[in-house]
Amino acid sequence: MITIHNVTMHFGRTPAVADASLDIAAGDSLALWGTNGAGKTTLIRCVLGLLRYQGTITVAGHDAWSDGKSARLLVGYVPQELSFYDDLGVGEAIAYFSRLKGVRTVAVAPALDSVGLADHARKRVRELSGGMKQRLALAIALLGDPPVLVLDEVTASLDAVGREEFVALLERLSGSGRTMLFASHRIEEVAALARRVATLEKGRIVGIEACSQFVAKLGRGAVLHLHMAPRVRERALNSLRQGGFVPSLNGVGVLVPVTPEQKAAPFRVLADARIPVDDFELVSFAHAAAMAAHREEARS
């Protein structure tokens, strides 16, 4: 369904994606995994024809750049955060995009209903919570029943409850025959939604494997999600690096992979550097591995 062949994309002289090749069959669900700046979002933007690249990308045979309009007709896209005219009504917003997609406006109400926003159609977009905005973006993406869904770190800016609801919604979609390509920082999301995982490092695809294999390889460790104010994130990254960790940024703070023995150690490093942490979550790889194995069993 999606073919990515020798794709390279540069920002200035820096390669953001380097010689990437992928084949995603119809009905497959592939996660792009990697740290910030690994090239996940850039690759997704190339698939959407937003960035010019060298190489070939096709969606159901349509070239993503030269025949982008036809390719995008087959794709529903959900960004990290919905950027919208805030004073637009929810109903107006979805009706606008239904016209651009050539979908009859009678499809608007069922689309809102399918993501649980039917009661909010008269609200302004700015009145919606982060989770509701993402559900609106998903409703827009699903207009016209596109066979492909492309999701770019869609839960990165959501709180725990919003994230759980949204992932549950996506889980129902992932087994429905749609092809999914998504980028994520969260291992539990990958375990819940992906069949295969492509790992990116500095723009290169360094491995593609079954989700259960990928998660099992991560071992007994966990990822500590530290929520903190944007102004202290860079300082936190530096302090954690000096403390021997390999942290990365995401939408709400800093991610730190930890072993079972050092789960509390990042907090000590940050406390010594007087960097406040607003909240945290610990996601264990073992739990994600169990989830992925369970899904694989269910599929087979």
Partner: protein
């Protein structure tokens, strides 16, 4: 709460909406947004109030009779259009693409089955329609006041003025779009648009006068240089169209009237078309090559 089921039908591929359909959808959205926005309201109110003030003063001066009243009104309205309309159109065009890019809206829009050209044409037509509405309201109010005060006005003159104002607005809107595509941030785009407006309204006039004296420019060259400024073209064309003498513009106007006569309409129209088409085409081509992020 979230509905219990999401049953996809995976319909066979539809055909993408046509260029005309997408342009119309985007234009309608842009028109609605412009009408709801504060800048549109502010400029329209300012244009109507100033236009009414010009009409009242001129009508009072004319004693309620005679075409001389309208002559004065026309001169006042031409100057008003020269100041307000380019500012309106330049800033509207400059903020359109740049602010959407800054908010991430442009990338989201282009991730849908639309082309970059459709976005440019749709936004342009929507904003042009909003400017048309504003100008119609402003000049229409002036015409009503003049009629009410008993000043005999020629409908043709009012229509000429409205039509030429719209052409000027479209030219400035094109230039605004080009600025918008080139600028990375909305604030830079609007700042550049205001600088261009100041240059066209004040600096180019002064530069032309200074250049004519210092370089002893030949009269035909002076006229050609005047045609390079769309505001000058509007001024000369408006005066020519309402049958006023171009003598008021000095030697260059006199030369133009004597040398080109009736073909002046075609010359001015050509200049305006160039100002409308070239910057807009450049904006569309540049957006097709640049990242929308």
């Amino acid at each position: 709460m979230i509905a219990p089921t999401l049953v996809p039908h995976l319909h066979p591929p539809r055909t993408a909406p046509s260029l005309v359909s997408n342009v119309a959808v985007i234009a309608r959205r842009e028109l609605r947004d412009a009408i709801r926005s504060r800048w549109f309201l502010l400029y329209t109110v300012a244009f109507v109030v100033l236009g009414l003030a010009v009409s009242f003063v001129s009508a009072a001066g004319a004693g309620g009779t005679g075409l001389s009243g309208f002559g004065r009104t026309t001169a006042g309205l031409i100057n008003l259009v020269l100041l307000v309309v380019p500012l309106m159109a330049l800033t509207a065009g400059a903020s359109s693409i740049a602010s959407d890019r800054e908010r991430g809206m442009l990338a989201y829009l282009l991730a849908q089955p639309v082309t970059r050209a459709e976005v440019v044409w749709g936004k342009y037509l929507g904003l042009a329609a909003s400017l048309f509405a504003s100008l119609t309201l402003g000049l229409g109010a002036c015409a009503i006041i003049l009629a009410w005060k008993g000043v005999r006005t020629s409908p043709a003159s009012i229509l000429w003025l409205a039509g030429l104002s719209m052409l000027l607005a479209m030219g400035m809107l094109s230039l605004g779009f080009l600025i918008s595509v080139l600028a990375r941030r909305a604030s830079v785009a609007v700042g550049t648009a205001i600088f261009v407006w100041l240059s066209l309204v004040f600096v180019s006039d002064l530069a032309l006068m200074a250049g004519a004296v210092a370089l002893r420019l030949r009269i035909e060259r002076l006229f050609a240089l005047s045609c390079a400024n769309p505001l000058q073209v509007f001024k000369m064309w408006s005066l020519h169209a309402v049958d006023a003498s171009l003598d008021v513009l000095g030697p260059a106007g006199l030369y133009a009237a004597e040398e080109y006569g009736r073909s002046l309409h075609a010359i001015f129209a050509g200049c305006m078309i160039v100002w409308i088409v070239i910057p807009l085409l450049a904006a569309a081509l540049l957006l097709a090559r640049r990242s929308p992020l």
